[in-house]
């Protein structure tokens, strides 16, 4: 009797779990499917060669947003990548101590700060003194978001570098800094670069920090000190607009952004998986 009840509950539980999984996966598939289908229908060559058309005219593209995003990401990479790498090296190589504990804690806190708060900080830090919104402000805000991600991923990768390799370097009379840069960093380079790419894909879609820093723009601009368009900002502004022409631009730019981010993710995850396989 008891066995029978157990069997029934077991079957029931299995059904519930499968059903719940299905309900979970369904909307996620729907989101991606919707963006891909809608975006693919609105794709055109104009999209990446032209700037947005004025309201009421059909056509136009998001060239300014693509270029703007690239500029902002470039600025944040110049700031975020070297600092992140050095911070990661610090956490991976320096021996445990109070200061290291504090720094690690700060990295974790920094990573947990909501991105909109970072946007406000970028506004206070750059926009207020400069008296105008600018690409630089956007880049700085994103670099603050990027920094902890790179520090953490760099540390994780560099910890996997076998200690024998370092010892071999030291035994050959290499100074410590050369061991760090040319043995430790060199060995973990694949993983470190993957981490950087992942962090780039993460901040490429960030919108909230750009609202009060880069602001967005209808025009093509290469100037660092001026408001600049960005792909995620365009998606936001076009999707809340009432114009069907802008909606189609927004579908298409979501498609571009999504494909970009998914591609980076699939590639880097494959690389990381292969590295773990090799090391472990």
């Amino acid at each position: 009797m008891r066995g029978r009840i157990q069997k029934i509950t077991n079957a029931l539980a299995t059904c519930v779990i499968v059903l719940f999984t299905f309900i979970t996966v369904l909307p996620l598939v729907l989101v991606v499917g919707y963006i891909i289908v809608k975006g693919f229908n609105h794709l055109s060559f104009d999209l990446i060669t032209k700037n947005p058309a004025p309201v009421g005219e059909s056509g136009g593209g998001v060239l300014n947003g693509i270029v703007g995003s690239a500029i902002i990401l470039g600025i944040s990479s110049v700031i975020g990548i070297p600092l992140g790498l050095l911070g990661g090296l610090y956490l991976a190589e320096v021996k445990e101590g109070k200061l290291k504990h504090i720094i690690r804690l700060c990295v974790e806190i920094l990573q947990g700060i909501p991105s909109i708060v970072i946007g406000i900080v970028g506004y206070i830090l750059i926009v207020l003194p400069m008296h105008r919104f600018s690409a630089i402000a956007g880049g700085v805000a994103l670099s603050i978001l990027m920094l902890p991600i790179i520090v953490i991923s760099t540390e994780e990768v560099l910890r996997l570098v076998p200690v024998e390799l370092k010892e071999a370097g030291v035994a050959l009379g290499m100074p410590q800094w050369r061991v760090s840069l040319f043995i430790v960093l060199r060995t973990g380079l694949g993983g470190v670069i993957s981490g950087i790419l992942l962090s780039l894909s993460r901040i490429a879609g960030e919108t909230a920090p750009l609202l009060f820093t880069a602001l967005g723009s209808q025009f093509f601009s290469l100037k660092m000190g001026q408001p600049i368009a960005a792909l995620p900002l365009q998606i936001f502004n076009y999707s809340i607009s009432p114009y069907p022409e802008w909606h189609s631009l927004c579908f298409a730019s979501s498609f571009i952004l999504l494909i970009l981010i998914l591609t980076i993710n699939i590639f880097t995850r494959a690389i990381i998986e292969r590295m773990n396989y090799k090391v472990g």
Binding site: N10, I17, T24, I109, I116, V117, I240, H247
Partner: protein
């Protein structure tokens, strides 16, 4: 060799010293950045802190015209949306990770697992766009149905707009699921095989094994992970801003338009004029920072404690 050691012996300015100094500086810089963020937020919300004091937290009014600002409606909006989203998504997250780890054939489990990881990478603004074009009309129909048939229940008794609390909760559920799934999946893969095999050897069914072995073993990890997910949901901005309907009143029903702390900042910061208005918004950002800091710290402590216990 001699040359090399000469190079190293250049005293204070040797490569090693410079390198470790630079490395140390970049480490300390992180602490400085965090301190600076906190200082800037406090400094620029001073006008509002001085004017309203602690009353800011429970003041119901948000009135830019009369320069009377209170955070209460937005704190409520933030807490309702994120707690509801996390609590509802929890059973789904646990089921999905159980399915991935225990029930599915390995290939299918791996596919779903990878898919979930990719979905976590989709930016918030894209979820928001989907929310505007697909979710809000869908939710409006559901609200209409609930309103027509169940309006005697207070939380369903409001005109259905589509945009509002319910839509925000649903989009938050969808967005936090990949994150919660990946955490509980990672916790579940730490369950020792011997325990599971032991349970099976004693003749238990799969469900008994899950209930008696996996769930107790993973409980703390899942709670910690859920708390971290809550920290994420609290600060989620774009998608929520796009579907929550932007109202500064306290929501009374599930269908009411509302605002979270993050969404009111996103909606009003660029249009805010006057020192007090701007600094009230910055104080909201400071509040959000502190709330998510508290939640994240609790979550990390729980996760950390379980890790220590297990190793």
């Amino acid at each position: 060799m001699n040359k090399n050691s000469e190079k190293q012996d250049r005293g204070f300015f040797s490569g090693d010293n410079i390198f470790s100094f630079v490395r140390l500086c970049s480490g300390i810089l992180i602490v400085v950045i965090l301190g600076m963020i906190f200082f800037l937020l406090v400094f620029h919300s001073m006008p509002s802190i001085r004017k309203f004091g602690l009353k800011f937290i429970w003041n119901h009014n948000w009135d830019p015209v009369n320069k009377d600002f209170g955070a209460f409606p937005f704190i409520i909006g933030t807490l309702i949306t994120s707690f509801a989203a996390i609590l509802i998504s929890l059973p789904f997250a646990i089921s999905t990770s159980l399915f991935i780890k225990e029930y599915a054939p390995p290939v299918l489990g791996k596919i779903i697992s990878h898919m979930v990881d990719l979905l976590a990478a989709i930016p918030s603004v894209i979820y928001g766009m989907w929310g505007i074009f697909v979710l809000v009309p869908f939710v409006r129909n559901i609200e209409l149905f609930l309103y027509n048939h169940f309006s005697f229940i207070p939380i369903f008794n409001a005109p259905p707009f589509g945009v509002g609390l319910l839509s925000a909760i649903v989009i938050l559920i969808i967005m936090t699921l990949p994150y919660s799934i990946s955490i509980s999946r990672d916790v579940m893969s730490q369950v020792p095989l011997e325990l599971k095999e032991g349970a099976y050897a004693l003749g238990s069914t799969k469900w008994t094994m899950v209930r008696k072995i996996i769930i107790p073993y993973c409980k703390n990890g899942i709670i910690g992970g859920t708390t971290l997910g809550l920290g994420r949901a609290l600060g989620e901005t774009m998608a929520v801003t796009m579907v929550i309907g932007n109202s500064t009143n306290i929501p009374k029903t599930l269908f009411d338009p509302a605002n979270t702390i993050a969404s009111i900042i996103a909606n009003e910061f660029n249009e805010a004029t006057g020192t007090l208005y701007v600094s009230s918004l910055i104080e909201l950002a400071l509040l959000l920072f502190l709330i998510s800091l508290a939640i994240n710290t609790i979550g990390r402590l729980i996760v950390h404690k379980t890790r220590i216990k297990k190793s």
